[in-house]
Amino acid sequence: MNNLLRLEAGEARIVADDPWTLIRDIEAEQPAGQLIVPLARWLEDPQQHGVWLGPDDEVECLKPWFAQLPLIALDFPSFRDGRAYSQAYLLRTRLGWTGELRAVGDVLRDQLSHMRQCGFDSFAVREDKSVEDALKGLAGMSVLYGRSVIEPRPLFRRR
């Protein structure tokens, strides 16, 4: 099980039957089933699998493949590395990705609401953490002064 939360029609739920396996080590033997592979490996054969990007990867290169991509994951090598927030913004707002956008890596309860604001809709919570507990972090606060992917209008246009 992937310790996964997913937003479906605005509702968050714990996903027990997630079919995806995240592949970090491409040298190791690959399991069967649906895989999320690193960008470099995925580009070798873009016809299959989901892809995950590290914070150094350019999200723009995925644009031509949007129609056939089943899933994009963005990696948080550390929860203190905030680059994936901007990558998510670009994927959603500028490039128009509407499919599943998954946060993987150091994904923790206290950052989930920021990820949600930036357009992530699934969250592979770090293995050693309770996914039930993490669920409490998804809502965040009721007030957003600025704007975000899910609320593109700043508060001053919503007053």
């Binding site: 927030y85 009721s142 001053f156």
Partner: protein
């Protein structure tokens, strides 16, 4: 002053509840120290040498009498009776117990205050000058845009985990009293030919380990684009700023690596997608916020007050204080008063007791409109004092240890808390400041010397802004002992400059002698009423070096 509405209020109270839960989880062992660290930092909580330190935001240095009284109550109830004003116009409490922090934050929220983003790798408190709205040389009141920026940058989800801290300052006066060249983004607000408000955008300034003055990337940006342009800068920085080395992670390093032209191109390219989008500010929003900053009901006063004039003539001590601590006001008959927090040995720079905070709150109501400012020089400003009341205010300030007539003088020392408190410091700052203040107690002499800024930082992080002091003192660690490196020639304002190191560093006991020699050299070469910086500019560093290191060659020979 800006008044919270339901949104602002909901946000600060929800934030308190969120942090209360995080503190509880940390204390219960559910959050590791590493996981808790950025959460507490983004709520203003540092771990210092002896205890937790809480840094409370004072947005653009403005607070009400009621807010000041709340700070006083926190100093009394949760600290050791005092607080410390910082060089970024905030207040720090040094002796805080973790379990009580949510209670303190709740008390702050009740008076529309918070500690959000006063630390951490995010956009920090937006600063401007202490005389915003009242300075005689002001072009446009910068506070409405500062408040708009404060709101926009508060819990902006994309930019909470930047490579490093991010400081924004805005200024709009002939003199730059907000040090905009020393910020990650410095904004200069002015009026264009057609009367429109425009912004000059400066990026990549900063002190710390690699002090750099900011460079201009945009001239004439219409104010409506403020948020979209800052967003573009932040996105470029968030994506491309270095994260492998915390000493190379500030935006200034990225700007330097790319070159200002290439960096500006990246920003402009990003901005093309954002401009004229939903982030574009509206006149309605500007008016909504600006309505909180309308001038108070000033009385119609004569610019010359007979009694004030008489007091000036009769009382040279008062006159001396007026010459240093009173600033011109844009409204006739009024002045802005700087209450010095630098009395010398009695108390470290920036430290103010709860009792002093309470009396200042009272004075702000009695002699003004209940508003108080904090200057980045760590002094307190009462912005709207009728000239007729200056003598009464001065008398009371003297009774309460806030009447030192030394604003802008050598003893108006800017200093970080240093090694007495700070876990990052290499060396102590406060005893150095006090050693110098003790050496230069003669006010007549100090006044003769005129404007000299002296800044002390206890480490490379440069919280005391030593690089931009006319005289800068930096605490350094040499094999476990504390040493002090001296720089000369730094300056803030429109003629900002970074000081140059004069030579090998000194022990703490040597510092007052060294400063005395520097000052004696200035006095020797000074022509008439020349300022220290001008003499230095004219004669160069050499005469100062010769005075400070006279025997070096003989000894080593």
């Amino acid at each position: 002053m800006y008044q919270y509405d339901d949104y602002d209020r909901a946000l600060v109270f929800e934030r308190v509840a969120q942090f209360r839960d995080q503190v509880e989880r940390f204390m219960a062992g559910e959050l590791s120290e590493e996981e808790f660290l950025p959460l507490r930092l983004q709520n203003g909580l540092y771990m210092q040498k002896h205890a937790y330190m809480l840094r409370v935001a004072i947005p653009y240095g403005t607070l009400s009498a009621r807010q000041m009284r709340t700070l006083a109550s926190i100093a009394r109830d949760y600290d050791r009776g005092y607080g410390h004003f910082t060089t970024r116009q905030n207040m720090q409490f040094n002796w805080i117990e973790l379990a009580l922090v949510p209670e303190i934050l709740e008390r702050l929220a009740e008076v529309e205050m918070h500690a959000i983003q006063t630390s951490g790798n995010c956009v920090r408190n937006i600063t401007t000058e202490a005389f915003a709205g009242v300075a005689a040389d002001e072009l446009i009141d910068p506070r409405p845009l500062a408040e708009i920026l404060r709101q926009w940058s508060t819990i902006n989800p994309e930019f909470l985990f930047l490579p490093r801290k991010f400081k924004i300052a805005i200024c709009s006066a002939e003199q730059d009293r907000a040090a905009i060249m020393m910020h990650d983004i410095g904004l200069y607000l002015y009026t264009g030919a057609d009367g429109q408000m425009l912004l000059r955008v400066i990026v990549g300034g900063g002190l710390g380990r690699t002090p750099i003055l900011g460079l201009q990337i945009r001239e004439g940006l219409p104010w409506q684009h403020l948020l979209s342009y800052v967003e573009a800068v932040l996105r470029v920085y968030n994506r491309h700023g270095r994260r492998d080395n915390k000493y190379k992670a500030r935006i200034k390093i990225l700007v330097k690596a790319l070159g200002i032209e290439a960096f500006a191109r990246e920003v402009e390219e990003e901005w093309q997608y954002l401009k004229e989008g939903p982030a574009q500010l509206t006149g309605v929003e500007y008016e909504r916020v600006a309505s909180a900053f309308v001038p108070p009901d000033y009385r119609s006063l004569s610019d010359t007050d007979l009694e004030f004039g008489t007091r000036l003539a009769e009382n040279p001590t008062f006159a001396r204080w007026v010459s240093r601590n009173v600033q011109p006001h844009k409204v006739p008959g009024y002045a802005s008063v700087v209450l010095s927090t630098k009395p010398g040995i009695a108390s470290p720079p920036g430290d103010v007791t709860g009792e002093q905070m309470d009396v200042v709150a009272g004075w702000s109501e009695q002699f003004g409109f209940g508003e108080i400012r904090i200057a980045h020089e760590q002094n307190i400003v009462l912005p709207d004092v009728p000239k007729a009341d200056l003598f009464a205010l001065w008398s009371r300030a003297c009774e309460h240890g806030l009447g030192s007539a030394n604003v802008g003088l050598l003893t108006d020392i800017i200093a970080c808390p240093g090694g007495d408190f700070c876990a990052l410091a290499n060396a102590k700052s406060i005893p150095i400041a006090q050693g110098i203040q003790a050496r230069f107690e003669d006010l007549d002499y100090l006044h003769d010397l005129g404007d000299i800024s002296l800044n002390i930082s206890g480490c490379m992080n440069a919280c005391g802004h030593h690089h931009i002091g006319n005289i800068g003192i930096l605490g350094v660690d040499k094999n476990g002992s504390e040493w002090y490196q001296i720089t000369l020639g730094g300056a803030q304002g429109k003629h900002s400059a970074l000081g140059k190191v004069i030579g090998p560093s000194f022990s703490a006991v040597e510092v007052p002698d060294v400063i005395e020699r520097i000052i004696a050299t200035f006095a020797r070469y000074r022509e008439s009423e020349e300022l220290f910086v001008d003499t230095l500019q004219r004669i160069g560093l050499e005469p100062f070096k010769e005075a400070v290191y006279p025997k070096v060659l003989e000894v080593s020979a």
